[in-house]
Symmetry: C2
Subunit: 107 residues, 2 copies
């Protein structure tokens, strides 16, 4: 999950995700959308997104077609929703507060 968060922390990668959100695109089309960076750089960004499971890759002859993995994006959203304010978090906070109190008494 950390990998996914670091992936979307980069504006270039967010733009790529937006490009392939609703339609499949070959790497060349994605790359040609950025005029200030080489194809190689875009390819490496795609590698990061692929590694974070945020995009799917499909081969078509010469080309590689990319598409956003909407399901994984949804997982990321629910994680963000629940990390801070979910039930698990409240339990964990209480446990850690107790641990800190204990440490403070014994330290």
């Amino acid at each position: 999950m950390d990998v996914a968060l670091k992936a979307i922390a980069d504006p270039r990668r967010r733009e790529i995700l937006r490009l392939v959100w609703s339609k499949e695109l070959p790497a060349s089309d994605i790359a040609s959308h950025f005029h200030d960076v080489t194809r190689s750089a875009v390819s490496q960004h795609l590698g990061v997104l692929r590694n974070a499971n945020l995009v799917c890759e499909r081969r078509d002859a010469n080309r590689r077609l990319y598409r956003a993995n909407v399901e994984e994006m949804a997982n990321l959203r629910t994680f963000l929703d629940q990390y801070w304010s979910g039930r698990l978090n409240r339990l964990k906070s209480a446990a850690e507060a107790a641990q800190r109190d204990k440490d403070a008494r014994n330290g």
Copy 2:
């Protein structure tokens, strides 16, 4: 918004946010929660979070009390929800597709 995303991309800062989510804490308490890093490092993380408007700071004599800015966190969540699948995005995508088609015809 980019600042906020980069801020929560770091696991240490996410942990800090979780610590001050439901209760106000002085910087020293936050720092003492991390045993593998100095107070200075934690202070710098707090600076990043403050700069991203993800935490509020309140002074009490000697100390500085921190608390998560839940409202800004909610803004971040809605941004994440709408960035990829919102109406603005659909319009922007259509415009860019048209531009690419135009470029393809003229190039």
